[in-house]
Subunit: 322 residues, 2 copies
Amino acid sequence: MSNSPNVLALSGGVGGAKLALGLSLSLPVSALSIVANTADDFLHLGLPISPDLDTVMYTLAGLNNREQGWGLAGESWHCMTAVERLGGPSWFRLGDQDIATHLMRLNGLQQGHSLTQVTENLCQQLDVDHQLLPMCDEAVRTYVQCAPDNHHDTTYELPFQSYFVEQQCKPAVTGFRFEGIERAVISPAVASAIENADIMVVCPSNPFVSIAPILGVPGLKQRVLDNISTRVVVSPIVGGIAIKGPAAKMMAELDMPRTPLAVAEYYQGFASHFVLDTCDECFVDDILALDMQVLVTNTVMNSLEDRKELADTILRWIQASG
Amino acid sequence: MSNSPNVLALSGGVGGAKLALGLSLSLPVSALSIVANTADDFLHLGLPISPDLDTVMYTLAGLNNREQGWGLAGESWHCMTAVERLGGPSWFRLGDQDIATHLMRLNGLQQGHSLTQVTENLCQQLDVDHQLLPMCDEAVRTYVQCAPDNHHDTTYELPFQSYFVEQQCKPAVTGFRFEGIERAVISPAVASAIENADIMVVCPSNPFVSIAPILGVPGLKQRVLDNISTRVVVSPIVGGIAIKGPAAKMMAELDMPRTPLAVAEYYQGFASHFVLDTCDECFVDDILALDMQVLVTNTVMNSLEDRKELADTILRWIQASG
């Protein structure tokens, strides 16, 4: 392994994007490829929306809205207001600038470009130099399976964004289904990124709805296992909570302890290295027993420096242990 | 004919929309249907744009930008700015609020609704009570045939919006082609509007690119001739110029005099009544000789009162002469 190892990062949205940004600040352009989940993509008002891909892209471009946690900084909402006046849906908020991204994607896809190509073009325009790839070019759609409740006698399914945004993650989760995943294909760009990688880093993203779909692309997980011996998972669970998103709530509903240990067990047989936060040091021995190397460090990324520091720490650790 | 005759108006964009608005101020909801040209519709950034339909709709809703002459009043341009940042086209300006209309249309069409249904829904949301109909539900696309110039050795074609907006009507016109017109079908709503109409009013719109496509829908012109005996054309040419748009420039390039008489000759055999401006009174006898009844009045609509006054004057004249 050279001084600048090639890293393949897997990321969902906001939480994962923080470490993806950190890695981009630590690694030269040629040494990092980020593969983002696209199973929470959906059509809204006819627009192809790729929330995770755009969150990573905006974050790498320094254009993300840090206060809001999603979307673009300095965003305006004139189009949405007009959509509401026209009787359209308002539960999924699209900012005026953000809509431009979706229009460019719609136009590119209509012209026959792949999502990979469209993403490359958008990144180029936003001066995002590190490679950002959708997990595949085919449409995969996450459905969240929900427990019976006051309105449903039996288990039922919600499209991911209905669960996540419209229902604000309130329904209790029993499982997940990735519609279309069996038709997904490892793209040439993802194949090449796997082939070139020395290290894989699973960013602190939701294991069930962000990382599972990526690893669920037929053949992808096995190809990673065959090609990349150093597979690092950064725990998205810190001190019993998820820093961002419903991961901890989902774990409880799935009868899993809300601990980094449960995350490590989830990735057993796949992760070779596991990173957990200092506040969760008590789980180190149990995770070591899962046959993983373990790094205890500060994983909560509040500042830009935190993001780069976590990336640097992980890379130094891997190189020292490798 | 009752005191409130049923009127079918044909309209292009801005110029026609003025009289359409005037008619809507003069006639009860049940007594007016407006059929708008859709041959200058096009896909832009993946959005289905219907410029004439939207101009009439916004005008009837009182939301149009009167200073600019197109689009919505109080419009903002944040999305367009972002599209430009992403390397997208900027020659056709879409306002943030206007984009909402196109998104609702995109979404409606994707869900299998017809353009007629989508337009009805949009009008309902904007409290446009009078019936506004696209000329057909099928895609018809105007191509402007242009004379050879410094960049072209032979005649060439431009899609209408490229000619109209991007090239600002600069190329010299030799003819027009309405792609897909042979597959267009008279919609049930247009058929019903023709059947119920006592009077047809051709608003002061471009004869070549606004009215010709409407009358070019297979069977439509004949159905009008068979069903509506009073067919009024309001001259879009006043004092040798077009109040709005390239009609006069086109007439010169097509070797037609830029006069209301030439317009009347163009509609000979179709128009039974012709309305021209006071400043063009000299043409009355020649137009009478074309076997048309002629009304000379002020046709320049600057104020809202002008719009209603012209509509009232035409309707009073028809009823008096009928």
